[in-house]
Amino acid sequence: MADTRQIRARKGPVTYLLRAFVIAYLAVLVIWPLFEVAKQTFAPADVGDEGGVGAFWERLSDPSVTYAFNLTVTVAFWAVVINTLFGVGISLLLVRYQFPGRRILSVLVDLPMSVSPVVVGLALVLAYSTGKGWFGEALASVGFYVIGTTPGLIMATAFVSLPLVIREIVPVLEEIGADAEMAAHSLGANGWQTFRRITLPSIKWAVVYGVVLSMARSLGEFGAVKIVSPGAEFRGETATLLIQNRYTNYEEPTAYAAAFVLVLASVLALVVVSLIRKEDHS
């Protein structure tokens, strides 16, 4: 073992070459484009205009932009709440119970990861729109409209980010095994007591990790939301939709400013995740 470690630690020309390649690759693909976004965010809009933080702030405080971010945060919040509750439930079901169709359910749970979000949006429209949807008419008759409203946005976002929480919890549940839970049962704890006092503390970090990841994913969701939302100013325009709309309408500075905020949120999420990982391993 000691030998292989030494070979890895050796600094030959190949190591430097690989390192340079990775850095160049990341720079071309990620760092440089994102830097451009940041640069544009703080750039003056027109010749003679003022740039910097003041301009950035001004673009963000536009009521339509505030509305978009409010909507995004609301949608992401509810999507994460729903996904956390269902995610923990489905994970327990998948790992702790044997039932016919368990494997199929396990595959279905992964589906939102592989299906394009646009398809998700289309599917939701087909199922819930009032015109031709399967449930749309029935729901509309009791005054509940899914397509074109905030619940619809939440649904689309929850659909897309569903696997993130589950995929974090399932391996942890499998690893800790059911012995401790059975021990708790034999000591007199009922299902809820066992879950709260034994299972939840063991999967705590996995849940937090999953929540942060799906929060990041939900804030940035575009495709599914694009189909479901009316997508007009003050009417279902989320932050990502706002960026696209403004960009195509030659209001690029606002688009860049909003994009920059989304990038910041993602970076924040990544920092939180890496801190959790450290905590988890200690």
Partner: protein, 332 residues
């Protein structure tokens, strides 16, 4: 009777884990469920605990029909092979768990936990996390935790299986002494016949989902009901028409004893204080295994190729041999 099992069976698809088991375990005793891996003994224990459902029959604990009761209503203590301690709780919290679930007053919980930690010699570790304990200490913790709720029966599933040989032996003695102190009806599963013979008041031998024999360690050893029980409780070899223990064979260097079989020493293996001989005798395909003490072997001046005469010792436990002896019985 503390535990009454009647007509219990369990199938997993085509595999029959348990087949119509009937057994009653008396109050206050230490009973071992002994048998090879996959023989169904753990399944039976888990059915008694309610961690596994039975396909038919009934389980009665302290006169109460527990067949349909969930584990938390059966008042049993269960100890797992891999401890199943609550990793995120301190040693004291682990022990207190069952009492807190039962909403006992705080002061009572505290005294009880202190008492139990004293009993399992873990008092000085009360505020540690289980990860800071050794395997043996974790298993003692698991025992204290199970005892805390004052169960009517204590069930242990291969409690020492994950420990190394020395700790295993210590804990075995300790369990025996503990049982003499607390007298709770205890059932433990093991595949180690030495463990069962040493610790248990009564042994239930289970193989292929069926009970082979129930009896005290002496009964089982001296009067095995069948070939399997005899083979499982210790090494067995065949001498002429008889199956008997290798240490129950007398070795002579001259044809003195009437009916003794002449043979030649093929191999001699010394393990510590004993010498294991492989002797080829005339008219028998399978060689005979003989175990004798180092001193005895030296006194007889035995070496490879020595001519010996073998005969069953007086008072030896024997069963008649049917056809070819089962190889696993000879090896064990």
């Amino acid at each position: 009777m503390s535990i009454e099992v009647r007509g219990v069976g369990k199938r997993y698809g085509d595999f029959i884990a348990l087949d119509d088991i009937n057994v009653s375990l008396p109050t206050g005793q230490l009973t071992a469920l002994l048998g090879p891996s996959g023989g169904g003994k753990s399944t039976l224990l888990r059915i008694i605990a309610g961690l596994e459902s039975t396909d038919g029959g009934s389980v009665e604990i302290e006169g109460v029909d527990a067949t349909k009761l969930p584990p938390q209503k059966r008042n049993v203590g269960f100890v797992f092979q891999h401890y199943a301690v609550f990793k995120h709780m301190t040693v004291a919290k682990n022990v207190a768990f069952g009492l807190e679930i039962r909403k006992r007053p705080k002061a009572e919980v505290k005294t009880k936990v202190a008492e139990l930690l004293e009993l399992v010699h873990l008092s000085q570790f009360a505020h540690r996390l289980p990860s800071q304990l050794s395997g043996g200490q974790r298993q003692r913790l698991a025992l204290a935790r199970a005892l805390a709720v004052e169960p009517s029966v204590l069930l242990l599933d291969e409690p020492f299986g994950a420990l190394d040989a020395k700790v295993r032996k210590e804990l075995r003695d300790w369990l025996r002494r503990l049982h003499d102190e607390v007298h709770v009806t205890t059932v433990f599963v093991t595949h180690d016949q030495e463990e069962a013979l040493e610790v248990a008041d009564e042994i239930v031998v289970i193989n292929e989902g069926r009970i082979e024999q129930i009896g005290s360690p002496d009964q089982l050893y001296d009067e095995p009901a069948n070939d399997f029980v005899m083979g499982f409780l210790g090494a067995v070899t065949q001498l002429g028409p008889l199956r008997l223990r290798p240490h129950d064979i007398e070795v002579a260097v001259s044809p003195g004893v009437p009916g003794s079989s002449p043979g030649v020493v093929l191999r001699a293996l010394r393990v510590g204080f004993e010498v294991r001989l492989t002797v080829e005798i005339e008219g028998q395909a399978e060689p005979v295994l003989v175990v004798l003490s180092r001193t005895h072997a030296r006194a007889l001046d035995l070496e490879l190729g020595s001519q010996v005469w073998l005969s069953p010792a007086t008072g030896a436990t024997t069963v008649p041999a049917f056809g070819v002896p089962r190889p696993e019985a000879v090896v064990s």
